[in-house]
Assembly symmetry: C3
Homo-oligomer: 150 residues x 3
């Protein structure tokens, strides 16, 4: 997945209905992740979905592999007692044909220690997704995450 | 108020018009709070509204009690000279009949010391609201906040 | 530009179509900034646009001066190796005639050191913009930023 540059023009922005659907899609997506629901979260990828990060040698391919990898991460996090919150924001969304949208957004992770109190900014990233609509629902077909500073 | 789990499907998401209203409602709501306008902020609750937090034994009940409690908090903060900003994000919104919406969202508080400079993440929370529409305006009927890590 | 107080009522909120346009406008705007595209970013101001901050004696006036000032800032940042992300949020938007909108929102900057890892909250601000629509595109006509704690 090629990393693209944003442009200033909103000529290719999605309409209000699609934008509201996508913002709500991401709201559910990242809340599921932070609730530790790796399997439900992975259902929001297409069956042949792909999830890559610039800090990993190879992307995960397929919903089963994506779920298994995230399950391991969530289980390790649970042992640590830390609470993480994945915020998404600054969402650019451009139509790519009738039932696909390309997004570019920020994802920042806050982390609170066991017992509560002040949080820290665990990680700041940018993300690019290719979303597909199937039977009125959105799915991630390809995702590429870049960690800031790397 | 029972804590619910988000689901992946957007089948029960609100329409774009309602979503835009609710995002703008929260934008005003949290800006009023951070401007120290406890009384105007409390007007965004229904007259019999309820505001609970998992770290407090009992919820505040009724607009008057909610305003008085927030006024005390704001006055203490003003003495400290700290500036706090309540960000809301990751907003899930589901219709609950014709004039009510259930939301689940993240609320994170940034805190800047007197004189300015770098901020810290004072608190990371999740919130659940039951919103009612009356005469075309939205109000919080019930709110429950859970502090991360507690 | 007079600093205004938010009010609780959404009676003067913009419609869903305009709100989606403005959120997408800001998404592109702040991503361009963080990608170091000072010149493209400045094209999102009107030709006679104004950009002021409470920590500076005078606002920058005109697209050329705004671009030149931001170019210097971006070049200094590039030398430091730091990555900054400008998040916008809590966007209040009110119509001001047919082709203008007044916004008031939060802008918070996260900063990641070279090599990556945890980020810090470099700065928390509030922003007020007067946006103009010309030939279907939005532009910043006036912007005023206030740094928290100053």
């Amino acid at each position: 997945m090629t990393t693209t540059q944003p442009t200033g023009s909103t000529a290719h922005a999605v309409d209000a209905g699609t934008y509201a659907e996508i913002l709500q899609f991401y709201a559910r997506h990242f809340q599921l992740l932070d609730e530790g629901q790796a399997e439900q979260w992975s259902q929001q990828f297409t069956e042949d979905g792909e999830f890559g990060q610039n800090v990993k040698p190879e992307p995960r391919r397929g919903r089963t592999a994506i779920a298994a990898s995230m399950r391991r991460g969530i289980d390790r996090l649970a042992e640590s007692g830390l609470t993480r919150r994945h915020w998404y924001g600054n969402v650019i969304a451009e139509p790519d044909g009738d039932d696909a949208v390309r997004t570019r957004y920020y994802a920042t992770v806050f982390e609170t220690p066991p017992g509560g109190g002040a949080a820290r900014v665990y990680l700041s990233t940018t993300a690019e997704d290719l979303l597909h609509r199937q039977d009125g629902e959105w799915f991630v077909h390809r995702r590429h995450i870049v960690h800031d500073g790397t």
